[in-house]
């Protein structure tokens, strides 16, 4: 090979190598973001005595906070006797009773926290002290949850991180750790079936099966740091956070006053608590699955109201189903389903509103909506039937066209035969 060319190639390869080396160095420098300057991590890593749940993704580690923040000591010294000495402020593993206050050192200080998140809440410790967990801990019960029970110790991740113990989909499992443990919970005298019931409930299915993070987990009803069983007065408000109209109708109804008087648990009385099932129209009226008959007997006015509401809803459901079936037929036939689909949607909307109005326990109010829904159904059926009539007209047109085409085809056939005979 030409000597000059060899030199050029050599220089070229050297340049490429330098670029690759440079790029890799830059990359590895970027990777070495956490813990490299922290002697606690350096030594504990070398000695392979890092905590069992240690994670490099821990949010404190990722934001450059040292082990010192919780354990004290001097993270700059590689001398064990100096860095872990009481002179350097080393406290070792904090006592359970101290944990909330220790986290609160930073998390309750808005001036400190705002450098990470300007709108972050700083009342977690205050809420914790008001919670069942916090109160029991203050009384000396060290079995209850502290901050690390839910957030983990060395693997704390933000709530929006799917790997976090407090990510919406993971919350039921986090609470379950203690609350489903019969032995652990025995001394508290509360049930341990909440998780199993929740998993089967409409909320549990939505959250855990459909992974709909909008569905409520334990904390959405019980609170996070201020976790408490909701009292009788607050149940309606808790459900009303999402089911706004249902709660509003109920609170204005005659029934709300009766419930308050008899100290009944608002929504929970008919729908349950952890095991809230998907509602059905059969919950109203006099059927076996009706909840009305739990309190009302035949002959009472409320009993009859329940039956009338059920019948009114049933009538609209039957009418709606017939319109929805016709809509599918129209769609399948490739006909104009646009206006009809709007009418069917309106009927569906009326049905939903009528079902919500059930919480007024007022037959007249429900009837107004079911009547409105039936009007939409009539309109939809009319539009659908017009389209089906048009379809029949198209098919008749095709039949006539085919008839004429067949005549032409037959004529052509005889013409061809005629020509071929002449040939």
């Amino acid at each position: 090979m030409d000597k000059k060319l060899s030199i050029k190639l050599f220089v070229f390869f050297c340049s490429c190598l330098s670029i690759i080396l440079f790029a890799t160095t830059v990359q590895s420098q970027e990777k070495a973001k956490y813990g490299e300057d922290d002697q606690c991590i350096v030594c504990h890593k070398d000695e392979e005595i890092l905590p069992e749940d240690f994670s490099e993704f821990d949010i404190h580690l990722q934001t450059g906070l040292s082990c010192k923040g919780c354990h004290g000591g001097d993270e700059t010294s590689d001398d064990e006797d100096l860095s872990m000495s009481s002179e350097a402020g080393f406290i070792g593993v904090p006592e359970k009773i101290e944990i909330a206050a220790m986290c609160g050192k930073c998390h309750s200080d808005i001036n400190f926290m705002r450098q990470y998140q300007p709108r972050i809440a700083t009342d977690q410790v205050q809420q914790y002290h008001e919670s069942v967990h916090g109160k029991k801990l203050a009384q000396g019960d060290t079995k209850v949850a502290d901050c690390t029970s839910c957030h983990s110790v060395h693997n704390i991740l933000p709530a929006i991180d799917a790997r976090s113990t407090i990510y919406a989909l993971n919350i039921p499992a986090t609470c379950k750790k203690c609350h489903s443990d019969k032995e652990y919970m025995a001394e508290y005298g509360i049930p341990t079936t909440q998780y199993d019931e929740y998993v089967e409930s409409v909320h549990g299915v939505a959250l855990l099966e459909r992974q709909d993070t909008g569905a409520p987990a334990c904390n959405d009803c019980h609170g996070n740091h201020g976790a408490m069983p909701p009292g009788i007065a607050s149940i309606g408000h808790i459900c009303g956070t999402c089911h706004v109209n249902n709660q509003e109708y109920f609170s204005k109804s005659k029934m709300a006053i009766e419930f308050q008087r008899d100290e009944l648990h608002a929504c929970e009385e008919c729908h349950g608590d952890h095991d809230v099932k998907k509602t059905s129209d059969d919950m109203i009226g006099d059927s076996d699955s009706s909840t009305c008959v739990d309190c009302h007997e035949e002959g009472e006015e409320a009993y009859d109201t329940g039956i009338k509401i059920r019948q009114s809803l049933g009538g609209l459901v039957t009418a709606y189903d017939s319109a929805a079936t016709l809509l599918k037929t129209v769609e399948h036939a490739g006909m104009d389903d646009l206006e009809m689909s709007y009418a069917v949607k309106d009927a569906k909307q009326s049905l939903t509103q009528a079902r919500t109005l059930v919480h007024t326990f007022d037959f007249e109010q429900v009837k107004v909506k079911t009547d409105e829904g039936k009007t939409f159904v009539t309109q939809a059926l009319k539009l659908g039937n017009t389209q089906m009539q048009d379809l029949r007209f198209r098919r008749l047109g095709f039949g006539i066209a085919t008839f004429f085409m067949t005549i032409v085809l037959v004529a052509l056939y005889f013409k061809i035969k005629d020509i071929e005979r002449e040939d």
């Binding site: 490739g334 646009l338 095709f398 085919t402």
Partner: protein, 360 residues
């Protein structure tokens, strides 16, 4: 009276354009009659369906509006509000698919009767280009209603094109008009579908028909060997043309039947941010390739399985389309058997993978 006027018009035209030699040429052109004569009509049916495409396509153009916010809506408008819009839209979609089917039938009948051999190599080649263009027609037209299935199928299709070594990325960029499938892709596919491909298609169709007319109908080997007095023939005009017309009319009636009783679906409007729905499938004529690519392992030899598959189909296409140039190297006595076996293997491969694709 009608006969007199027709004669007058003919004379007027003949006086100026000398069309008598053309009519005489057609009158003297003969079509062989034998047990495989049926296959002569397949190309004609494909041609008729192309004409149906032009007519129905022009009518759709009057109302169709390309654009992310208007394409789907305009198709909906055509099928629900425009008089007979439903008919033209369904006829366009059905006839497009049936046309591709008949182009395939025409190609395989030409292959098995070995019509592609000398002197018809260029007729075969132009026909091959027409087949590829028909497939591109289908691919570009599929996206135009801007529905969910078409959107994601185009995404997958252009991704496959992007996997071609070296030229894949520029091709993908050219097809999509950007990184993703967007309004820019729709505009491009629209331009390809109504301007670019029809222009190129018409040119190749003209050449294809010119070659067919110039060289006449192919005589299969067994027919060719017959003594002249034993060969049965029919004049191209009017006998064959009338038979063609009869078949075309029948096909038209079937298409209208399909349009009336099985209207082509509009589907759900495409949403770029929605997750891909289950059961994304390409059009049936791409299914065998799609299924084959799905079945390949992630890595094959020194390359990705997908790249291997693309290279395989490119090579296989080249082998298939250049058949007139290499089958002459096969020993003449063995040629019919080997080519028949080759053709049957190709059909079996396409059929099995297509059915497999729809079953899983």
């Amino acid at each position: 009276m009608f006969k007199k006027s027709a004669e007058k018009s003919y004379n007027w035209l003949d006086d100026r354009f000398k069309i008598t030699p053309l009519v005489e040429f057609m009158r003297h052109k003969q079509v062989p009659i034998h047990k495989h004569s049926l296959w002569y009509y397949m190309g004609g049916v494909a041609l008729f369906l192309f004409l149906v495409q032009i007519v129905s396509g022009i009518l759709l153009l009057l109302y169709y509006q390309p654009g992310v916010d208007s394409a789907y809506e305009s198709i909906r408008f055509i099928t629900t509000k425009v008089s007979f819009g439903w008919l033209f839209r369904s006829v366009h979609s059905w006839s497009a698919n049936i046309m591709v089917f008949f182009v395939f039938v025409h190609m395989f009948s030409t292959f098995f009767t070995r019509t592609y051999s000398k002197p018809r190599e260029l007729t075969w080649l132009t026909g091959s280009v027409l087949l590829v263009l028909s497939l591109v027609f289908g691919f570009s037209g599929y996206l135009l209603p801007w529905n969910e299935l078409a959107f994601f199928a185009t995404k997958v299709g252009t991704d496959i094109a992007g996997a071609i070594p070296l030229i894949g990325d520029p091709i993908k960029l050219l097809l999509r008009g950007g990184e993703g499938v967007t309004g820019a892709t729709l505009s491009r596919f629209y331009a390809f579908h109504i301007a670019l491909i029809p222009a190129v298609f018409t040119l190749f169709l003209f050449l294809h028909l010119l070659f067919v007319q110039r060289q006449g109908m192919h005589e299969p080997e067994f027919f060719h060997k017959l003594p002249e007095n034993k060969k049965r023939m029919m004049p191209f005009f009017p006998n064959f043309v009338l038979r063609d017309a009869l078949l075309w009319l029948l096909v038209l009636n079937i298409i209208i039947y399909l349009a009336v009783f099985f209207p082509w679906e509009i589907g759900v409007k495409a949403d770029a941010f929605a997750p891909a729905p289950d059961g994304i499938k390409p059009e049936w004529f791409f299914m065998f390739m799609f299924q084959a690519l799905k079945l390949l392992p992630a890595h094959m030899f020194i390359m990705e399985g997908e790249v291997f598959g693309i290279l395989f189909f490119t090579l296989a296409g080249l082998v298939w389309f250049t058949v007139p140039f290499w089958d002459v190297f096969i020993k003449e006595s063995m040629r019919p058997k080997i080519m028949k076996l080759f053709g049957i293997s190709v059909i079996a491969f396409i059929l099995i993978l297509t059915i497999w694709g729809y079953l899983v």
